[in-house]
Amino acid sequence: MPTLPIWKALHMPEMMRYAQAVNHALRLLMSADERVFMAGEDIGVYGGAFGVTDGLLDTFGERRVRDTPISEEVIAGLAVGAAITGMRPIVEMQFADFVVNAMDPIVNQAAKLHFMYGGNVEVPMVIRLPGGGGTGAAAQHSQSLEAWFAHVPGLKVVAPATAQDAHDLLIASVADPNPVMVFEHKLLYKEEGPVEVRHTTEPVVQLGEAIVRRSGDDLTIVAYSIMTVRALEAAERLEDSGISAEVVDLRSLRPLDIETVRASVRRTGRLLVTHEAPAAVGVGAEVVAGVVESDALDHLLAPVSRVCGLPIPMPYAKALETATIPQVDDVERAAKELMNA
């Protein structure tokens, strides 16, 4: 076989949508490992409610890409059973909201079986959950429920913000021997970004690694999922006002890379946490606690600030939906208040 010249062998990132990046990762994972299979509602013939699994049925056949009845409990439950036998199920909740029908197999089973079986059994399963608001899908199709799962010992939770991370974190989640909840964001599916498509299933990112998306000196904005995108836009605007904001994208909520946040706060002295889910008992509270439980507390120059979704069900009316979800303006305004505090 001829050797590829180096300029051809080195991979170039290509621009692709977040949904395509997930699709590519699924293709890689399915091709690389016979143990990987998929199940979910309308994921086969239809290609998924958001087109994420488009074409996978044609490539891998219905033995491995299985359309299921509308039965979230057994979709999650079959993943638990299959994972115990050593398979690597990737199952989908059509909307993250539907996971409430599947809480028992996830919370009472998947999360606990490794512990309850004395460490003898592993449950390497992945659940993909399209979550979040902004699509006009109203109260029962727009929630951000990730904090529920981050609260349960035994589960890992990731929430990618970029197409590259959607690709890489899915690969890392399937490689992980524990149950992992992957919260994708419905509004991000159409967002384009550069993606270096991986060709091996060796994870490039580990679960539990935050990333500094933008460096700054005046304040630290901690975000994940779509709020990372909004935080970065707010940071651009803040720069115009002479405020240098650092943006930390958590990427993984459990495990949580609090050290990266603490290190940033030690330098900037100000902390703003933002997520689409409501503030109360949420990930932001955990981040703040993680900071003040350390010596980073001594570096704080101002009270911390949270910019989160309003504590109400997602309204159907567009104007109210927008008002419920934190926008770039909200982050920008809160950051300025923090600078003046």
Binding site: P69, I70, S71, G136, L310, P311, Y316, A317, A319
Partner: protein, 352 residues
């Protein structure tokens, strides 16, 4: 006494064939048949108008029910005006027949929460958006009526897909073992988004699932308003007299997409749909009424005009509702506004 069902798939009951011929005794007089015909014309007008409005961006995502008018009209007509109805996002025709105002149906689909504010004395819950989650509510409604010594019953609509949810099992079992006055009406329209009924369940019919719960299961031609009415009237009678629930499977077809966000061309053939055009629920009743001298072109034109003007009236009313203000979001969260929301409300009011 316990219900003991036969362990065979029930055959499909039909009274009015697709060509409009009676193969059994008509369960209603001509006056009621004419009323139901007109109601179905209203329903189809509402449905088609909704599809058009959605395309113009005046309604949010819409789930059409064209083809299922008889399944809804026939069953709703068997209820008393104060019986409970708990349906889905595809049951607007039935809800309207049970006095849910058309303007609220439209308002709900424009995204206005006012659409879910049911008027007093209307015993219809706003449409359930989750699949199957509302069936358990129907059990509770009927249960509460019995506790309060009333004879009101509850009828719940759901689709073939919902029978795969756990809620279906728990609602059916509880209602049967407690003899709760609930009527379970499954509109088996052949498709749950892209999944055909044959891949939804391994049983030949939905109706036979009733056997395992200890209640009667009836399978009817869902496009035959007479068969649906007769089966529902019987089930309502059982429920009201304390004999317990019934499962009715109305075999029908979703002529349109799952919702306006769907493209059925990706998973089903047009030929399938053509077959169901021949089984249209409205046309067969038209032929029947016409042969009995109860239908003519003039009347058709008159009721179509009535339907159009009622639909127009409802749209105008729905669109004249004041756009909801951010402050309104907080008022409907709890019975009273708790301190943390009062704070949010103050912030919202102060916001630029």
């Amino acid at each position: 006494m316990r219900f003991t069902g036969a362990l065979t798939s029930p055959r499909m009951r039909q009274i009015l064939t697709p060509s409009g011929a009676l193969v059994d005794e008509a369960p209603m007089d001509d006056a009621l048949a004419s009323r139901l015909y007109r109601a179905m014309v209203f329903a189809r007008t509402y449905d088609r108008k909704s599809m058009a409005l959605q395309k113009q961006g005046r309604l949010a995502t819409y789930a059409p029910f064209e083809g299922q008018e008889a399944a809804q009209a026939g069953s709703a007509a068997a209820l008393e005006v104060d019986d409970w109805m708990v349906g889905t996002y595809r049951d607007a025709a039935a809800m309207w027949m049970q006095a849910y105002p058309m303007e609220l149906l439209f308002a709900g689909r424009t995204g206005h929460e006012h659409g879910g504010r049911v008027p007093e004395h209307v015993n219809v819950l706003p449409p359930s958006i989750t699949v199957g989650g509302h069936m358990v509510h129907a059990v509770g409604l009927a249960w509460a009526e019995r506790l309060q010594g009333s004879s009101r019953i509850a009828l719940t609509y759901f689709g073939d897909g919902a029978t795969s949810e756990g809620d279906f099992h728990e609602a059916m079992n509880m209602a049967a073992v407690q003899k709760v006055g609930t009527v379970f009406v499954c509109q088996n329209n052949g498709w749950a988004i892209s999944l055909p009924t044959a891949e939804q369940t391994a049983t030949e019919t939905i109706a036979e699932k009733a056997i395992a719960y200890g209640m009667p299961g009836v399978r009817v031609d869902g496009n035959d308003v007479f068969a649906v009415y007769a089966a529902t009237r019987e089930a309502v009678g059982r429920a009201r007299s304390g004999e317990g629930p019934t499962l009715i499977e109305a075999v029908t077809y979703r002529m349109g997409p799952h919702t306006t966000a769907d493209d059925p061309g990706r998973y089903r053939s047009e030929a399938d749909r053509e077959e169901w055009v021949r089984r249209d629920p409205i046309e067969r009743l038209r032929v029947y009424l016409s042969e009995r001298g109860r239908w003519d072109e003039d009347w058709q034109m008159r009721i179509e005009e009535q339907a159009s003007s009622e639909v127009e009236r409802a749209i105008v009313l729905a669109e004249s509702l004041r756009a909801p203000e951010p402050e309104e979001m907080f008022g409907a969260m709890f019975a009273e506004i708790p301190p943390h929301l009062a704070e949010q409300l103050a912030e919202a009011k102060a916001a630029p």
